[in-house]
Symmetry: C2
C-alpha cells in the first residue's frame, strides 16, 4: 500500500481521526475512546497516518500524544483545486440552463 | 471497498485518468493507450471511477466515451478546505519564527 496523503484520507475512520486531532493533540487512548472499533484497528489507522506523514507522535511523560501535520494535507488540496474551475463552469452552465427554462415558462 | 470520491482519488492511475478526462471525453481505448499497464487493469480503474460517480460512459456509435463529472470531486475538496486555516496558521507561525531568527542574527 502506498503511503501518501491520498491513502491517508481514503478511509472514513482516518478522516475522523484527522478531524479530532485538528482540534488539539490527543493521546492514543483518548483517540481510541472516541471510536466504537477495536483498539488494534485504531492503532493500525494511527500507524498508517504516521507513515503517511499526517500525524507525528510526541512522548510526554508516560503518554504518547498524536499531533496533526496539517501541511501534509496540502498536496491533496492542490490536486483537487486544479479542477475547481471545471466544476464551477459546469455549475454555471447548469444554472444558466435553469434560467433559460424559467424564462421560457414565464413567456 | 467503499465507493466514494476519496476511494476514487486514492490511486495514482485513477488520478491520472481524471486528469486526462478533465481535458476532454475519451474512448476507453484512448484512455488505455495513455498508460503502460494492462487493459484489464485500466478497465478495473474505469469501473471503480464509474462506481464512485466520477465518470459516466456515453455510447456514441460503436464507441463508449468516458466523461468526467467534476462536481463529484467537490466533497473531497470541501473536506480538505476545512483544514486550510490550520496549515496557513502553521505556515505563518513558521514564517514568524524564521523572521525572529533572522532578526536575532542581525542584532
Amino acid at each position: 500500500m502506498r503511503r501518501d496523503v491520498f491513502q491517508a484520507i481514503a478511509d472514513p475512520i482516518r478522516r475522523d481521526i484527522i478531524g479530532l486531532l485538528a482540534q488539539h493533540p490527543l493521546t492514543v487512548n483518548a483517540v481510541a475512546e472516541q471510536f466504537n472499533i477495536s483498539r488494534p484497528s485504531i492503532s493500525k489507522h494511527l500507524k498508517i497516518l504516521q507513515e503517511c506523514g499526517i500525524i507525528v507522535m510526541n512522548k510526554q511523560g508516560r503518554e504518547r500524544y498524536c499531533h496533526i501535520q496539517p501541511n501534509k494535507l496540502v498536496p491533496a488540496f492542490l490536486w483537487l483545486e486544479q479542477y475547481q474551475q471545471l466544476w464551477e463552469d459546469k455549475l454555471e452552465s447548469f444554472e444558466n440552463y435553469l434560467e433559460i427554462l424559467k424564462n421560457k415558462k414565464n413567456e
